[in-house]
Point group: C2
Chain length 293, copies 2
Amino acid sequence: MFADRVIEAARRLGPLCVGIDPHPGRVPELFGGDTPKGLAAWGMAVVDAAAGRAAAVKPQAGLFERLGPEGMAALQVVCERARAAGLIVIADAKRGDIGSTARGYADAWLDETAPFAAEALTVNPYMGLDTLEPGLAACEATGRGLAVLVRTSNPGAADFQSLDCGGEPLFLHVARALAPAAGRLKGETGWSGLMLVTGATAPQEARAIRALAPEALFLVPGYGAQGAGVDEALSGFVPGPAGREGGLVNASRAVTFPKAAEGVSGYRAWQAAITEAIETAQAALKAGAASGL
Amino acid sequence: MFADRVIEAARRLGPLCVGIDPHPGRVPELFGGDTPKGLAAWGMAVVDAAAGRAAAVKPQAGLFERLGPEGMAALQVVCERARAAGLIVIADAKRGDIGSTARGYADAWLDETAPFAAEALTVNPYMGLDTLEPGLAACEATGRGLAVLVRTSNPGAADFQSLDCGGEPLFLHVARALAPAAGRLKGETGWSGLMLVTGATAPQEARAIRALAPEALFLVPGYGAQGAGVDEALSGFVPGPAGREGGLVNASRAVTFPKAAEGVSGYRAWQAAITEAIETAQAALKAGAASGL
């Protein structure tokens, strides 16, 4: 089951998830720059640096899709390289649609024969529980995971997610409504592969969601470049055998575009900068998880 | 401006938008069946049947994405054919992400040089107003449109969209919050290219949204196969020079997989069945728009 693979890897290596976000103009010339080939080469190099150092990678679909079908083909090879390297692949595509089309997205990302070889997919709950059902069914059949947006990390997250709905913000209604789904993707460790996306920039909200969803793994964006620190990122975590646990904390820009990698012209120097950034971020998260016990 | 092109075409031809939804197993063998080539050939044939008979087409991204990058390449050629045929192309991808990634989706679908040549993109508002900003900015620059999910047509739409938030359902909060954005995409006709997705299956909700958003064009799914009739589909429309107006009504299965097209083996018989289904749906909508004055 997805949940067991995530928590086992997080206990062994730490909770870091490496975001693979090829922002326009940021992919080094060394890999071919802002082209489909450049995205593929750079993404595979990030995968190689993350392998053995992080539990998971999270490629950002929109930043590949901007280069059209060839960009999506680059995403495809990055996902394949990551799975071959033993990394858990969470496709950050934030999909969502009515039943028959949601089935199309499940076919694309979550089935055994899916063209994009992800082990989990991020999805948007706005359209309702029935729109999550095809993804959930695919995950039950294949042992994969689904990460549902609950309280995101961006400044505008509060616009609708925090609206008061009968004494409780919308995001808590969403978290509560997902409890039956969480039960369906529960692994042997007791954790569920129905992940909840809870931004590191909203630690109080993360604790409130944790109180409602004790089994759900959290997928935590917003750590690092978006301004949240280790304590905020781990605020929804709970004591476990190897320190606080309960999800993955994503870092993208801080580990894939670190200062030390700026302007380097050789692959070895780039690789050294990236592996060091990944190890530093992972060590900080592990120390935070240990000290919070 | 997108809004003016939509309303001009709807006044001239009627409000029908032809949904291009290649459901698994439904694309006729005559075109190559459920393969990227089949999807491209079938989608282009639907475009040819819609040209001159409907204002717009709405390809469903998820049903192309399920075939991987090659499926997305099929979507690309369908969009190009539609624009060359003078049809307005609304890409139904329901994207949404934080600012930097939302910019990637705008690059993919809405910019002058976007690989997927759409004139409007459907987006999900759950993550907040800042996540809509890159798409809006692209639309301001290029005269394109953005269609925001407000009250969808599926049975589970009410799960979150209809939650009572301080005396008003969530979907009305969303509609109200979009008013400044609607103003930014307003055309010379007074209509705005900030479309609101309002399901035909919820006519009362559509009227409530119209009261709050008098300028916004509606994109109405759920007509036909999802159970709503002409009156329900037009419930958010208002009197105009050529009958009730105020948006586009999408039909997919009813016009692209009609009974009369089942089992036909030749292109001409298929084409005759599809053009007749499109003309019948358009005539019903036009009659409804005229009788409601």
